[in-house]
């Protein structure tokens, strides 16, 4: 009886820890995501569109989850240095030029990338500051 009670308490404790961890992650995700939506509106939406739809064959959409996943660790560099040349996005060819979004800080880059990779039909979780800082070191 005593043992059962004790195990019960321990289990409850573990559950509480897990739950609070999860919600802390959740809180962090929400913080990045909602901050990112504001940055998207100010710096990206004019080109990539309200729904990430892009513009005809001039500007690629942000709806290609596979493209975003494959190039996940390069996305920060695209924003920092700009992007130029041929791309295949959503099965279509693009050859344009994205100017560098130079005035974004690493934390803002993390937020806006969290936003786009979890909007417009994408769902790939948090991209945090540490990841962005590591990615930015590897820019070509």
């Amino acid at each position: 009886m005593k043992l059962a009670f004790f195990t019960g308490i321990v289990l409850l404790f573990i559950m509480a820890v897990v739950a609070s961890c999860q919600s802390e992650d959740q809180v962090e995700f929400s913080r990045y995501y909602s901050g990112g939506s504001v940055i998207y509106l100010a710096h990206c939406q004019n080109c990539h569109g309200e729904k990430g739809e892009g513009l005809q064959s001039l500007i690629p959409p942000l709806t290609d989850s596979v493209f975003l996943k494959t190039n996940r660790s390069s996305l920060a560099c695209y924003l920092k240095n700009g992007l130029k040349g041929k791309l295949t996005v959503a099965g279509r060819e693009f050859e344009g030029e994205m100017p560098a979004v130079a005035d974004l800080s690493p934390i803002e880059v993390a937020k806006v990338l969290t936003y786009i990779t979890n909007s417009f039909g994408n769902k790939s979780g948090l991209i945090n500051l540490q990841q962005i800082e590591a990615d930015l070191k590897n820019c070509k």
């Binding site: 513009l55 064959s57 001039l58």
Partner: protein, 218 residues
Amino acid sequence: MKNIVCAFIVIALYSACKQGSTNNTAKLPILGNREPVTKTVDGKQVTDTTYSTIPAFKFVNQYADTISDKSLDGKIYVADFFFTTCPSICPVMHRNMLNVYKEFKADDNFRIISHTIDPKYDTVPVLKKYADKMGISGNTWWLLHGTKEETYQIAKNYLVSVQEKKPQGEYIHDGYFVLVDKQKRLRGTYDGTDPAQVTKLIADIKTLKTEPDQVNAK
């Protein structure tokens, strides 16, 4: 007594509203400077109003065809100013302009003209490539190339402000879409970055097309 006054006010307000709404649907305003001109018709003095109109011009479109004011005779058109490498408002403007294009592309008496304000970079082949990527074909939407002086001069006639900010070579310009009638008078300006205003532009073009002046003009 109080009731009667109230009722009176209500009726007055109602008829004021009604008046306003019928005016709206009947006719679009004519914009720009106007001058009274007195002339003699059949021996009588008549005072007429002349409105400012778009003067003669000559530019080249994305197909390297010369486009002049004559090319727009008998046509209602919308004008704007842009450049192909514009990082700010142009993509939004042309995303919205595409809706105007789609709505009227079957109408040969309608045109869209977009003047590049960066003629040095936006040469005719660059404009053609832009048109292709935008998915626009045919003669509904012309992208116009001319000298900087001519372009900046004609912008003033459309009441659009265009400047070059040196030394970075950045351009500052309004995102207005300007509606011009068959008599080359300005009939409306719309913020091309605002989808709601562009929807209004489409409605106003339809209204304008039904005005007797427009129906009868060649």
